[in-house]
Symmetry: C2
Subunit: 386 residues, 2 copies
């Protein structure tokens, strides 16, 4: 498989495909049972016979199961393609990588756009108000199904980092290590506010119709505005200045208020392309799950983490103002106070929050060595062979 991949591409996971796994029901955090649940997922590399080299990668708000490689006949590299492949941070020659689309998503997993078997129509707002912990509990069912008792690592940035923290807190015996990147124990009011304005933009769209738009025009204008707000928060003031400056371009558009600064054209393009691949109701449900998430639960995080044996690597980025470094330091502090073995690195980057997707070299270096150390620790302790 790896040899085959190498023929297609020098780096990256090569030709990959998306699979699905469907199970009857999931007990939600709310107490309700919900099902059936389908999760779309991809895997890269091979599971070793001991089933000890499996890494779960969890995606951010707009991500999906397609983290690496390309689909047959397509030129669609995964969202973390620079990190996953032979010799890369997640070395597919050593590790078995799993990535699934979250519950509530719209890229193959069950979400508000899925057909409700009871009505034969899309769930829309009949979809339950899911949480980050629900997403993780669904992933746990998938991991169990794949026969993996204990993951070597769970890794993800942004909302992915929230899922990592949920694994760390709720399933500490099912993971050996956790890598929360550019994330937070809980959203600040500013983070909630940005998500809320995105939701308001969607719900302000006349085509939203309280979520019942699946047989007609979608609320694409509102969703595009939500995405544009997102993109501003993903970049730093500095990276925007470097990328766009105040350059203008003629665009031949009819109104006075259409894009003429390059940054306006960029946002417009990002908004327009997003609506082709994302469901507005999924945006509502997923952002709400992010806002409601609080890894510490009902007591301080350090108390929740007492006795936790998972090894933790926390990564933040200097210019990330959406998930600022102080939030990562809160995670580190709670881990340290609880006696959890924790490494922290703030990477010096201008990319803002997007850095977790773009700072390939330094981030890969940190992850690669951390994974090696965790993997090696078990070799030495004899939990499994090399």
């Amino acid at each position: 498989m790896i040899e085959e991949n190498k023929k297609i591409k020098n780096k990256g996971a090569g030709a990959v495909y998306t699979q699905t796994y469907t199970f009857d029901s999931l007990k939600l955090e709310s107490g309700d049972k919900f099902g059936p649940v389908t999760l779309a997922y991809e895997t890269y590399g091979c599971l070793n016979p001991e089933k000890t080299n499996a890494i779960l990668i969890v995606h951010a708000l707009s991500g999906d199961a397609h983290a690496a490689g390309v689909h047959d006949g397509k030129d669609n590299p995964g969202w973390w393609d620079d990190f996953i492949g032979p010799g890369l941070a997640f070395d597919t020659e050593k590790y078995f990588i799993i990535c699934s689309n979250v519950l509530g998503g719209c890229k193959g997993s069950t979400g508000p756009s899925s057909v409700n078997p009871k009505t034969a129509k899309p769930y829309a707002l009949d979809f339950p108000l899911i949480t980050i912990n629900d997403m993780v509990n669904a992933q746990k069912v998938l991991v169990d199904h794949l026969g993996i008792e204990k993951l070597l690592a769970v890794v993800g940035g942004s909302m992915g980092g929230q899922q990592v923290l949920s694994w760390l807190v709720n399933h500490p015996h099912s993971i050996r290590s956790a890598v929360p990147i550019a994330t937070t124990v809980k959203h600040s009011p500013q983070q909630i506010a940005f998500n809320e304005v995105g939701r308001q933009a969607i719900m302000a769209d006349a085509h939203w119709k309280a979520g019942n738009y699946y047989d007609g025009t979608t609320p694409s204008k509102g969703l595009a505005v939500a995405r544009m707000i997102g993109h501003i928060t993903y970049m730093s003031d500095k990276s925007m200045a470097e990328k766009f400056g105040r350059a203008k371009k003629e665009n031949g558009l009819p109104f006075k208020f259409t894009a003429d600064f390059e940054v306006e054209g960029y946002l417009r393009y990002r908004g327009d392309s997003f609506v082709k691949r994302f469901d507005a109701n999924s945006y509502l449900y997923i952002t709400k799950a992010m806002d409601n998430f609080d890894a510490s639960g009902k007591k301080p995080l350090q108390e929740t983490l007492e006795g936790n044996k998972v090894k933790v690597l926390v990564i933040s980025f200097k210019s990330d103002w959406l998930y600022p470094a102080y939030q990562s330091k809160e995670i580190v502090k709670a881990c340290k106070l609880a006696g959890v073995e924790t490494t922290y690195c703030e990477i010096d980057s201008n990319y803002g929050h997007d850095a977790f997707l773009l700072e390939v070299e330094e981030e890969s270096h940190l992850i690669k060595h951390f994974l090696k150390k965790v993997f090696y620790a078990y070799e030495v302790t004899g939990e499994y062979g090399a």
Copy 2:
């Protein structure tokens, strides 16, 4: 007048009223002539016989001519009420204060919602694409009309600060001093981006109809979203955390995605109340003017300012991330390099950009002493008596 005010209120400008001044036409920066132009304005305090104590206060994006006091029978204090009145920063016992609604506005001055005399219908998008310099040139006509040859000071924050810079650069012989607060020589791509998303939200509203909504439903949902985005950028992460935390409140609203965190309710309230007092097309025109503004014109600001005799006080606020201190320092640097007499203060505040409206004590102190110094300088040089 002052005694009368004191009866009504201990501080502030007391009972005030809005006046209008209409003139035939204004030559716009584009070269076009536009008219007639009406400016709504208010004045506080009395002009001295020498006409040397006049201060022009210029407002921000959503402001208007009503900077201080209350209107007859109403409880509607002006937007800078804590700064203008007997003994306050702008002491109405010493100075004559003028504040006018900007050209393009919707609070009494000519703007896109005004009736076009040629068609007897609102201008809507037939309104010309005005600039910050156009707003200032219209103010200059008003100041001339009031018989004031030279203003003691022009003062304003945010977009008001942009107007101050326009006065400084384009009318240096008509002002003795300039106080640009929490502002910038030119918008960064991030500042443009936030404005652009607000504009996109308005134009995404099905009721916007390319600006022709005056005889029907207004694009209030889109405008509310634009305002919510604004409000996030006006506060700091810290001030939001202090004000709201993650507190939730039950609101009895029917959908799953309506406000339940307090910060969501706050944004919603701010958005809803804004649409009652502001015109969506004005929002488009004014934000576009802000984005297009570049005080330095075609050469570096320091060259433009060579030989400029205006005294300058630049104020910024530590937690203001919308108009960060580095932008104020750029103004200071250009002034200093040009040999302009300049004082700079970065006030240590948690309020974010809103600080220019809220940091009453320290800001008042700085302004009061600066104005006194400028006023006194002319007493000593004998330009006018005390």
